[in-house]
Structures are given as C-alpha cells and as structure tokens.
Amino acid sequence: MRIVCFIMLLIAQATGLFAYQDTSLNKSISEQNIRFINYPDFPEAHSTWGSIGYNPANNNVYVGVTNHADKVGFYEYDPARNQIQLHGFLSDLGHLRPFQWQGKMHSKIVAGPQGEIYFSTDGGESREEYLMDHPHGYAGGFFMKWNPATKQLTNLGMGMQYESIKDVEVDMQSGLVYGISYPQAHFLVYDPQKNLLQDAGRLGSAHVPRVLFTDWWGNCYYVDWRQRLVKYEKSTGKLVFAKQSLPAFPGTPGGKIVTGITAFAKDHDKKAIYLVTYGAKLVAFYPQETGIGKWEDLGGVYEMAKGEEWKPYVPNLNIGLNGKLYYVIGGHGNYVRKDKTVLIEFDPEQRKANILLEFPIGRLTEVTGSDIRDKDGNMYFAGRKRPDRSENGSVPFLIKFNPEKEVK
C-alpha cells in the first residue's frame, strides 16, 4: 500500500497538483469579457499553433487552422462585422501539388508594409523529418503572402528543402521577410522584391525556438542555444549576439533554456517588448537601433513553489490598451491549477500576476498567439480544447478577450 501511495504522490507531483499557490479570481472580469469563436466549414479542424495575426491595414484577424495532417484552412475574422470566414485551404490557394503537402501553419501571421500579410508553412508531422526521399516525404515549407484587397494568396517559394518554416517576421519598412527553419534552426532572410533568400546558418541546438520578433526599426530577433538574443541588424546585414543570456530561474532545465522565447507583446508607448521564456520568465526588452539593447527581469509568469518557478507553460502573450499583459498558462501537460488553464493579468509596474479566469482543460487546453489586438482593444488568442485527451480529440477556436468591456 505504501508503494501505491508513493506512486500516487509521484503522479500528483508530476501533474502539478501541489505546484500552485492559491490566488483569488478577479471578480471584475467575467465570461462576458471573453468569447470563443468557432471556425466554420472545416469539420476536421484540429488545432492552431501560433498561426494567428492582426492586420492593422483592415483591422482584421487572421488564423491558420490545421487538421494536423495535410489540410490548412485560412480564416479571417472581421471585428467590425463580427464575422469569421474561411477563405480556403492553403493547398488550393497556394497551388500546391500533393508532393508539396503541408501539415500546418506554425508561424504567426504578420502584416507587411503594403497592407498585405505574410506567413509560412510547416510539415508538422514526424514524417517530415525521416522520409526525405520518400514518395510521401516533406518537400519543405513555403513563404506565403495574402493580399486582402484581391483575396489572393501568392506562394513566395520555399525556404530550405525538406525544412519547415516555424515562424516569420516582416520588416515594415523594407519588406524583408525573416524566417526560422525546422528542425535545423536556420535563420533565413528573404527579400521578396529581389527574390533573394539568405541562409544565415544554424542558431539552435536540439530543439527549435519557435518565435521571431522585430523591433521598431525592423531588426529581427531570435535566440541561440544559450537563450541569448540574436539580432539580425538590417543596417549591416549581420547577426549580432547578446553577450548575456536572458534571465532564467535557477534549476531551469537545459531543454527549456534552448527553446528560448515562447511569446511576445509590444508596448509601443513605452518602447518595450515583453517576452515570455520557455522557462516561465517575463522580460521587458528595450531594443536599440544598433547593437543589443537592455532588458529587465520582471519575474515569473506566476508565483510558484521554490524550485518549480520555471514550470508554467505560456506560449501566448498580449498587451491591453491599459498596458497590462494577458496570457493563458497551460498546455503540454503543464498547468498551475490541476486540470485547469488560467487567464492571467500581469501588471508590469507592480510585477504581479492575477488569475482572471479559470477553464477546465476540457474546455480550454492550450492557447497560442503573440501581440494580437484590434483598434478597439480586443485581444485575440488561438485556443484549442482536447475534451477526450486523445490525439484526435482536439477542437480549435478563436478567443476574443477584452478586460475592459464585454465582447460580442
């Protein structure tokens, strides 16, 4: 019996049963402040993986939704009309042949200088890595551009043969498109005007950090295996490496360090870019035009027991018009409340996290998305639920949230 109890204790620890401190919910926020919006016309929709973005040119939100096999639906949500629309599937819109199948869109969706938006495609399956010359192997991920005015998708070509493109960013001034490949973590710079692709080489170790972000000047940032910021400085066309690593809690496993940043949100007024690390740190980064800027350690995403601070999983981050940060903790087996995801409000001034809402993981399992806010202050996340926890039991939906008013 003692053995049974010991194993139960192990399971409880592994599932984080004792890993949180009690924090009372914010009573001013209710379910009226949040809405889950279903994706129409795609019954086999499975998930979204950071594949969400906002276009300031038309105030619309875009999402790539996958069946996690070979079909990616491209959606547009119009907040003004409160309408969501499926434009079609990437294989059709991008004129892809069957041997160019794409498992998902993993990149965020990023606005370009002419009102267009960019994203990239991903293999998303194990067969991507080990069936290179196989009839059903993975050809490689593509850069793609959507023109909202003409509703046309342009396939801008492949990044690297056999490699996915996990994330993209765009320099709003020059139109340069940045990408990061998977699984070899090559940093790519693509100039659509000249159709020039520069492979700046491998920056990662055994696991690929998923997030790129840009600063106010259009320089692009990634991390190396030491969780040091790596900047593509567009004035020189060279990579600049930070000397120091981003902050991490003592005891953060190496596997968390090498994965770097999971999400970001920009405060344009304060000229700060807030980052979340895979080791659950919040960082305020203040970039500068040349060289690496400064950063400030804001602490953990949630108050945890000593030695477990690095555990919460936060692959999403938004910033409200009030300057506060909003994120959902949970996913990939990491939860701070047993079997619940929690929506957090974090005040960067006070450096304090409050739980606003809790969701059973059967209703909200995991949330992705960085820095998606419309002109009315509504923030958006790409969510999914896994009601039966099986690989097939996954349902994606768009999350619309506003802490200051009810959302329609």
Binding site: D133, L203, G255
Partner: protein
C-alpha cells in the same frame, strides 16, 4: 491485486512518454559535445562562419581541427582537449597563408612527433593557390604553424595525403584535377596530367551541370605498398605507383546507381589498423572495400537512402564508423562490420555541459563533415559542418 494496481499506475505514468517517442537519438553513455563555436563570448570559441570542421585528427589528448570559412573569412586551426572537453587553441590560417578559404584535405601525420600536414583551398577568384601547411601540436595543445608553400601555382589543394616513409605528399588540385607529388626532404615536385578530365568528360560534366568542386575526388589513400588511390573522370578509380611514376585505372568502377555515374567520386577513405581500405562514393553514398592486391573493389551497399559518406574512421574490433547523408538532408551516423553489416545509428544527440550551461543541454548533429579516432582508440570524434559547429564525441563500442 496490489501488483496489478502498481503496474497499471506505472503504465499510466509512462505510456504518454512512450507513445510520444516516435524516434530515438544515438546518445550512448559517455558521449558528449564540446562547444567549440560561439559568438560574442569571453570563452575561447571559434567565431561564426569560420568553423565548419572539414578536417580532424587527434594528437594525444588533443583533437586537432581545420575549418572551412565563408567567402572573405579565414579558416582556422584549432585544438580541443578530450579530457577537459574544451578548446585549447585557435589559430587563423591567414596569419600564415593569405587568401585561403578551406582546410579540407584532412590531416596526415609525420613519421615521428606530433607533426601533421594539411592542404588548403584558396578564396575563389583571389588569384591565390592552395598551400601545404605543417602543424606541430605541443603537450599543452598549442599549435605551431609553418607554411610549406604552393605545390601547384594558382591551384587549390582539393585532396592530399602524405607517405611518412618517403616524406612525400600526393595531391589533386582544383580546378584542373591535376595530380602532384612533392618530396618534403628533397623539395622535388612533379605535376601529372593523367587525372584531369578529357574534353569528352568535361562535356559530360557540363551536361550534368557539375563544377570541379562537384566532381573532383575529395580524398586519397595509400596502400601498404605505397601506392596512391583516388577517383577520376568518369566514375573511375586510379592508382599511382610512385616507384614507376605511372598511373593505372582500375577495372572496377565506383559502385553507382544507373544513370548517375557522372557524379561518381571518392567522398572519403578509411584505412583500418589491419590494412583494410574502405572507400565511399559521394554520388550515391555506397561503401566499398578496396583490395589493393587484386586491384578490385567490393560494393558493400548503402547504409542509408541518401547520397554522401563524407567521413569514416576506424572503431574497435574491425568496426568502421561513418557519416552518411548531408545537406539538404541530415547526417546519419552508421557503423559497418564485416560480419554484422550496417547499422544506421541516426542523428547523434549528445550532452553539452559548458560554462553558463552547467545543467547541460542536448546537442543534435545535423551536418557532420569530418571524423577521427582518438589515438588510444577509445573515442570517435565528429566535427560539424555548420555556421556554428561543435565537436561531438562518443566512446568507441567494444563489441566482439
């Protein structure tokens, strides 16, 4: 009943991890990665774009490496301690020979002392030729470098080997494909045209859109009689006998996939302690065994489906290790044993522990261009071919 509950709980606990493990990496006990390249650091590391490890050997406790740089940058020599698992020295080649791009010939050892030789390739369109470089590794792992000059003016050294008994170098130069010999003691140098492609060969290469860097043999090997073997157009193996200064072409061609003969060339050689010689064909990644007495080869097949076997090195008890596959695919470590055949060991993923990463991280080897065996035969060392390349080391298996 208790047992059932316990087993069920254990299964519940571990099944998700087992179910999600779709493949495993090669990470034997005792393996490790050495952080050899890193930008903007106070640690001794090689800078970005100058560290693709195209040549490796071992001198006592020290790994000796030579790199390939990107255009406009100097390649480097470096040493790394196996015992301390860290770099000991870095020397830019440009301090000794100007206008060089690559140290790609591997290292040949002198008859005595910790003296090694390598050949270099110049920067493209620079007007420089490749040099023979002599290196002395001292007991602290520091490197003394000496430039022995250009064996063939204006041409790079694409492949080279050294016969320590005769003090003589043999090489293939780029872009012409000529063969040279250079006696270190006498200074006598001879250049031969027998290995250059004919006009017909060049037409064939043109029709396959191949450049000299794509079709010239990448390595040479010396048999027990002092004869030198390499590849030449098209898909042929040649043998040079220094005693008669004559060339012959082996009757057996490199093993090929039908229609791809034009791309056939030697990618690497490995000479085993018992004298057995293994070779590889870059075009399709076949391994073969050369019988120098009969001047024949035996096609041993392909360890994986991809082309290339860029590097091979002896293990213990007749085991051969090699790296098959290369960009745009990934390298697979493989082993070959005469009695047991091939094993595809897949991507190596070793633990890297280094200052600032004391908890350790996993380092996965995707592109690997060079290999070496430690002098005591206990370690196999692999050098990456990346913008920031690291060393990957594992204990040689002691299988019967």
């Amino acid at each position: 009943m208790y047992n059932r509950i316990i087993y069920s709980l254990i299964a519940l606990f571990f099944v998700p991890a087992i179910a999600s493990a779709q493949y495993t990496f090669f990470n034997p006990k005792g393996s490790f990665a050495v952080e050899a390249s890193l930008e903007n650091t106070d640690e001794l590391r090689m800078p970005i774009y100058q560290n693709a490890m195209s040549s490796l050997t071992v001198s006592g406790d020290f790994i000796l490496g030579g790199t390939t740089a990107e255009k406009g940058l100097s390649p480097l020599f470096f040493t790394s301690s196996l015992a301390q698992r860290k770099l000991a020295a870095i020397k830019p080649l440009e301090d000794f020979a100007k206008g060089q791009l690559s140290i790609g010939t591997g290292f040949s050892k002198a008859k005595s002392g910790n003296v090694f030789y390598a050949g270099t390739m110049p920067q493209p369109e620079s007007g420089f030729g490749g040099h023979i470089i002599e290196l002395l590794v001292n007991p602290q792992g520091q490197i003394a470098v000496k430039d022995l000059g250009e064996p063939v003016s204006g041409e790079g050294i694409f492949a080279m080997t050294f016969n320590p008994d005769k003090n003589e170098f043999y090489g293939i130069v780029h872009p012409s494909g000529k063969f040279f010999s250079f006696n270190l003691k006498t200074g006598k140098k001879q250049i031969y045209d027998q290995t250059i492609p004919s006009e017909n060969d060049l037409d064939t290469y043109h029709s396959f859109a191949l450049e000299p860097k794509d079709y010239l043999g990448r390595a040479l090997v010396i048999d027990q009689q002092g004869r030198i073997y390499g590849s030449r157009a098209i898909n042929k193996l040649f043998c040079f006998d220094p005693a008669t200064q004559s060339f012959s072409v082996l009757k057996d061609e490199l093993p090929f996939v039908w229609g791809r003969e034009a791309m056939g060339r030697i990618d690497s050689w490995a000479k085993m302690p018992d004298g057995t010689i293994y070779g590889s064909n870059a075009a399709d990644g076949q391994l073969f065994r050369l019988d120098p007495l009969k001047q024949t080869i035996v096609n041993l097949g392909k360890p994986i489906m991809m082309p290339r076997i860029m590097a091979m090195t002896p293990g213990k008890n007749g085991m051969l290790y090699g790296v098959a596959g290369a960009s745009p695919g990934y390298a697979h470590l493989f082993s070959y044993h005469p009695q047991k055949g091939f094993r595809d060991l897949g991507n190596p993923e070793f633990r890297m522990i280094t200052p600032g990463l004391e908890q350790g991280i996993n380092w996965r080897g995707f592109q690997i261009a060079s290999m070496a065996t430690s002098q005591n035969g206990n370690y196999i060392i692999m050098g990456e071919n990346e913008s920031l390349s690291q060393l990957m080391v594992f204990p040689a298996e002691d299988l019967p």
